[in-house]
Amino acid sequence: MFFLKLAWRNIWRNKRRTLITTFSIVLAVVLSSFTRSMQLGTYDQMIQNSAGMYTGYLQVHQKGYWDKPTLDNSFAFSDSLLDTIASVDHVTHVIPRLRSYALAAGQKKSRAAMIIGFDPQAEQSLSNPKKYLVDGTYITTDSSRSVLVTEGLANYLNLAVGDSLVLLGQGYHGISAADVYPIQGIVKYGIQEMNRAMVFLPIGKAQHFFGTFGRLTAAAITLDDAHAVNDVQKEIQSKLDGPYEVMTWRQLMPELVQAIEADSGSGMIILLVLYIVVGFGIMGTVLMMTAERQYELGVMVSIGTSRFRLGSMLLLELILLALLGIILGSIGSLPLVWYFHLNPIHFTGEAALAMRQYGMDPVLPFSTDPAIIWGQAMIILGLTAVVSIYPMWHAHKLNPIKAMRD
């Protein structure tokens, strides 16, 4: 207790020294939080670009659909099912979809296309064909007989707005499906695979076409908090009784998860280097702090303070400084990452062009998850603990006569 008091007083005895040491710790927290927020922000952007563009954060299917995605594995969708899902916390939208393949044909040519039965209202919160419309108009009513096609398909089939599109395929339990639809609009997605061959058909018409009345292949779910995805999955799973599978984007897009994991490895190496550098920064100030107090420490040893207690006192001082530093550093990091979250770094020139082409905003976003800052603060605290070995060792080795003579 006495040494705690002494340590506390020592800290405030020389404010400038305290300030400099604390600053080096604050700096360590801020810089590592900045770097980590940038790294994780990029992953959030990747997830947002995939999950938020088409897949959704969660999808509900008939059990077995994901292994064998055919219409025969579709499920009956009712308002009560919709309400059950929508009532779960964090769920913002439930987007019904009926997806299958059919041959799309124009006058001369044909190509296999992905047919998406969609709800024109609900879909605006996910793949949002309205936003990517480059010609024609959006379908506003579910009862419309018209379709939207992607630019890639329209070009290939040589079709424009107002032309007829023939769809030919296989429906529920193998019945044959064929019909003609007028094209009302053309959409163009940045991601080439999405732009290649897709046809958007109002869901009622799609169910009629495939003979899957009242059935869906998937209900995609958007969330207001991406981090709640596992809890939401569990809750939906427990609320739905019946042969359903509820899958998160992690299960739906394992490649994205792998991409992030692969990149995260090199991200950790980068952080490690940063820790070494800021660690040296802290080490430098602590070293100087100890050297500056040679005389004082020498006096204490010679009047009979045990070296262990002296070491403990120095350790306590450093821990107090470290706590002060990480608290100030965490507080200081918050506005910094928020600033870069709201005003992300913009790519310019060719980089911006490449990103737009890829369907991404040309910015480097920052994550504002407070857990990042908290985690970095803890790591820096650990780092300071490692550095504090030095003053303790110094107290142990100190030669009082030499120390006082200097």
């Binding site: 810089l31 280097v273 430098g284 100087m288 702090m289 990103m355």
Partner: protein, 405 residues
């Protein structure tokens, strides 16, 4: 001159302090450069792997083919064109494809695919798909109408080795044509979309079904330097205005994005690192000035003028940094050169990498301009780091300084 000598002696008077500053700058420089080289090497490897699998460096088509995607819009007089291209100094390898969009039908399901007719001997020189065959073999003409498919497609269509696969498409006269093929191999590349949407057959088989032998819809080129491919593509485009010449950066913008964003991230990280170093040095030097309050006060009291004190602290910081940076650079260059030669094997702890399509063997590399940029940035940081503590020393009042303690 005296100041230079005094500063030099001062930094070795307290070797631990100097050691910490030199150590920080040295490790910062070394690790920063090494990480840049490592990341550059990793991105390059990734791009190279992807290009070697399915894009190639440069692709040449008839402009109408790209719009209509029909095999009849083929390249006119392909043999003489290939001959001319082979004489270009930068072109290392060429392969010719016939290609058509069609439906792949098995007894279980139907799926839209891109069907590419290849010459196996030529193709192996450009595309590494033959190394990605996980079941069965690469195309061989021993079997009648062989086809290789991706794992993803095989699952969708419930295909196994030796399964029958019917390919259905329109020939060069826009007539419906179909052929029964036999699955001889199943490949798994790093790109599952590619595996889902592409099947490969022997060019002669496809040309027969398309009703035009020797049909060339696509030429894929490999050049001596993939970074220069966009420039080479422009050169070729001017020579052959009737054809459409595209480099990989036009065909696969996502790879260009990976390339460019990598550069950005690295410079930002280097900025953060140098900021950390600079402030670390400032802090240490400030503490050093404080520790030496008595000594500096004494120097002033015996008549050393302020500009000399300022100069001395400045010189001391410079010494520390200019000892550390060159050693750091040299060490970094040595490490990068060494690991570029031997490669760094990440296979032990990176299952994810292989699955993602990244080679587990990384060869770090960094062009000279980066070393120059980093030295320049470190130089500026050194000046900034030196000024503040020296200015603080200037502010000391000699009488108070000596009285302390």
């Amino acid at each position: 001159m005296l100041i230079l000598k005094l500063g030099w002696k001062n930094i070795w008077r307290n070797p631990i302090r100097s050691g910490v500053v030199i150590g920080a700058v040295l490790i910062g420089t070394w690790a920063g450069i090494f990480i840049m080289a490592f990341s550059t090497g990793m991105t390059k490897q990734y791009i190279k792997d992807q290009l070697d699998t399915y894009v190639g460096h440069i692709q040449i088509h008839d402009p109408q083919y790209l719009q209509e995607n029909s095999p009849q819009y083929s390249i006119a007089h392909p043999d003489s064109l290939i001959h001319q291209l082979e004489s270009e100094s930068f072109v290392t390898k060429i392969t010719a494809h016939s290609e058509v969009q069609g439906l792949a039908m098995s007894s279980a399901n139907t799926f839209g695919v891109s069907i590419t007719g290849i010459d196996t001997a030529q193709e192996k020189k450009i595309s590494t798909v033959y190394t990605d065959i996980k079941q069965g073999n690469y195309l061989k003409s021993k079997v009648r109408n062989p086809v290789i498919v991706g794992q993803e497609l095989a699952e969708k269509l419930d295909l196994r080795l030796h399964s029958k696969l019917v390919l259905n498409f329109q020939d060069v006269h826009n007539e419906i044509s179909a052929g029964a093929f036999r699955v001889v191999g199943i490949f798994t590349t790093s790109n599952s979309t590619f595996d889902e949407q592409n099947v490969f057959v022997i060019k002669k088989d496809l040309d027969r079904l398309l009703d035009q032998q020797g049909l060339v819809d696509e030429l894929v080129l490999r050049v001596d330097n993939l970074k220069k491919a966009p420039t080479y593509a422009k050169v070729l485009q001017q020579k052959y205005p009737n054809l459409k010449v595209q480099s990989w950066s036009d065909i696969a913008p996502e790879l260009r994005y990976a390339d460019i964003s990598m550069d950005y991230m690295m410079y930002i990280f280097m900025g953060v690192l140098i900021l950390a170093l600079t402030l670390g040095i400032i802090n240490t030097m400030l503490m050093a000035v404080m520790e030496r309050t008595k000594e500096l006060g004494m120097l002033m009291a015996v008549g050393m003028n302020r500009s000399r004190v300022f100069g001395m602290i400045l010189i001391e910081t410079f010494y520390l940094i200019f000892v550390a940076v060159p050693i750091g650079l040299l060490l970094a260059w040595g490490t990068v050169t060494f690991t570029a030669h031997t490669g760094i094997d990440l296979s032990a702890f990176s299952k994810g990498l292989a699955a993602y399509g990244l080679s587990t063997m990384i060869h770090p590399e960094l062009s000279g301009i980066y070393y120059l940029n980093i030295s320049f940035m470190m130089g500026i940081a050194a000046i900034l780091a030196a000024i503040y503590p020296a200015w603080k020393a200037l502010k000391l009042k000699p009488v108070e300084a000596i009285r302390k303690l």
